[in-house]
Symmetry: C2
Subunit: 226 residues, 2 copies
């Protein structure tokens, strides 16, 4: 479909780089949920002017990663149990759709790519940490790229970013990882088998299970905090 002639276009604009840096800083927990982000500190930290920082913050705000209270400035968004439940609900719905779309529209090369990503993920599972996260991201990127619907891809990417906010609080539960991997493999299998129904169900089930674990932890935290 798309020729691979696209040039890197690496450092597009400064603003985009700032966005990326901030997104990653939030994703990795460099900034904690609820923490305030003071413009000047960010300027100093990143070595750019207020213009770029402010515009990047607007973008992140639109993505739901930060919240801005007028005249008090932005802070990293924090997700309560209620919103988390809603996020997972929508995610299950859309990811089921994406899985179904993959099973129906993915090209053979895309399926092969997806399988490679799963293998890489299983390998990264032993190492944990950043490698695991990266492998998981890579898997989802391929899944979404192959589902045949860019709108879904865009929305789900945003949802993933927001759900990542939960990671700082509800870290991987001990027993969850092996089951999670098995579920992911099942998704990949059903897609490869061109089983749309099965792929959809597998995706939904995967998210349901993940949600269950995450929400349990979150609920407990929220109660103990209150």
């Amino acid at each position: 479909m798309e020729d691979d002639m696209q040039i890197a276009r690496e450092s597009a604009t400064l603003r985009l780089q700032v966005e990326d840096k901030l997104r990653k800083a939030i994703a990795t927990g460099r900034f904690r949920a609820g923490e305030r982000l003071v413009e000047r500190e960010l300027c100093a930290l990143l070595g750019v002017g207020r213009t770029s920082v402010r515009e990047a913050l607007r973008q992140l705000e639109a993505e739901g990663l930060i919240v801005t209270i007028p005249h008090r400035g932005p802070a990293v968004a924090s997700i309560g149990p209620k919103e988390a439940r809603q996020l997972y609900e929508v995610r299950a719905l859309l990811e089921g759709f994406a899985g179904r779309g993959c099973a129906m529209h993915a090209t053979p090369e895309q399926v092969a790519d997806l399988e490679r990503a799963v293998v890489a993920l299983e390998k990264a599972a032993g190492e944990g940490g950043a490698a695991l996260i990266e492998a998981k991201t890579s898997f989802y990127e391929r899944l979404l790229a192959s589902c045949g619907n860019d709108v879904v891809r865009q929305i789900l990417t945003g949802l993933h970013n927001r759900i990542t906010l939960l990671r700082s609080t509800s870290m991987q539960q001990p027993g969850r990882l092996p089951r999670s991997l098995k579920e992911i493999r099942l998704i990949c299998e059903r897609i490869a088998a061109r089983d749309a129904e099965g792929a959809e169900r597998a995706c939904i089930e995967h998210i349901r299970n993940a949600a269950e674990v995450a929400l349990a932890v979150l609920e407990k935290q929220s109660n103990s905090a209150a």
Copy 2:
């Protein structure tokens, strides 16, 4: 649940007002799809500085209403047949979910509100134009507010805005309005009857039908243009 003590908080920040003005200008066709938006012109037009305009544009960009090409500036997004189909697909999925949620979670007052909105909509149908659009918007606002999931509400609001971009090209088809109204009434009915399945089906069916009409027009235009 929420006390009705919230003050108007009308003119929050200048930036938000600019956002709103631009959004409306795009929705009403004041700016055509594909038209370039030059910063200084907007500044002059709105009587504000570049800061506010640029940050508002970032927001609209994140919402998908405009596209920005580096060093060439923003332009009103234009939707092709392919993207339109994707938008409608996702919309059907989410709106079905919202309808189901409404049937399950809406309070009796919310249902009554919804019914009032439908009546208003049916009345506005005769007048057409801005009144009709407003009534439709009002109906959807209530539907989404009652579905019990703010994430869905937020995403669907964005999708509606983007789909509005199509209105400038594919105006209401002549015969469509009466059927559309009937479908909407059915949605409301199923919700009032607490029939989750039925409400979901009605919503999906409604969007499917709307999509069919819109896509047909769009396809034709796209072909004749090529």
